[in-house]
Symmetry: C2
């Protein structure tokens, strides 16, 4: 029987976050001691590890919910899990492409700054005038 603190250490998830996962129904309600403290078993430890690892790979909690659901039904075809992972991969690739464009632009800005007064600062100038950019870039919601 594991306390929430132990679970926290074993998975690298903050205690508050574990409770939050329970609250939104991602983790099941655990057993309780007489005094009302949570006690977990190994199945729950595995589940949290799964969640944590998926988060590290950038999956949203919604996607994780689906993945957990699939994981709970080993006899169903795994196309869906595959599709979710593919979607995630695609997102990661899109984000990388965007970041690449941003990096180019930022590098150019920083390079051209000659260290004078802000009035002549290339960094600020570029920010003022998008037309100085070589690439289009639509970051914002990333």
């Amino acid at each position: 029987m594991l306390t929430i603190g132990t679970l926290s250490k074993k998975t690298g998830t903050k205690v508050q976050t574990i409770r939050y996962y329970e609250q939104i129904g991602l983790m099941p309600e655990p057993g309780r001691t007489e005094g009302g403290q949570r006690r977990y078993d190994n199945a729950q430890l595995d589940r949290l590890s799964f969640i944590r690892h998926s988060r590290q790979l950038g999956f949203s909690l919604v996607a994780i919910r689906e993945l957990l659901d699939l994981s709970d039904h080993p006899n169903r075809p795994c196309d869906e899990a595959d599709a979710i992972a593919r979607r995630q991969l695609k997102q990661v690739e899109q984000r990388m492409a965007r970041l690449k464009a941003l990096r180019t632009e930022l590098k150019r800005m920083v390079h051209e700054c000659s260290g004078g007064r802000t009035g002549d600062c290339k960094v600020l100038e570029v920010l003022r005038d998008h037309s100085e950019c070589l690439t289009e870039h639509e970051e914002i919601g990333a």
Copy 2:
């Protein structure tokens, strides 16, 4: 004299967002008509463009506040603006590196899925067991 809607179209910023920027003090309070509607001038259009462009390059609103402040004082040395841009560049590079590791892992997961039942699904298996990963990855707060 520009309405908020015109400003919105010209900069690609949603009307609500412009009002939000005003609320948090990033945009100045504009003039109003007798009836209380906002009316902007070109200086404010420029400022919003600056903000929008900076957001596209991934700067936080806090960083943008600093950049705007520097931009308002053309006689100060521009080291600070340069430093902010360099920090942003560094962040972008870090994010790229992390995404690269994630991409590798996701690709491998997707590749190895042979399309059977979820019980044998490589995707789910990898999520279950971090030790199957070739790289360490600490995404989460990205």
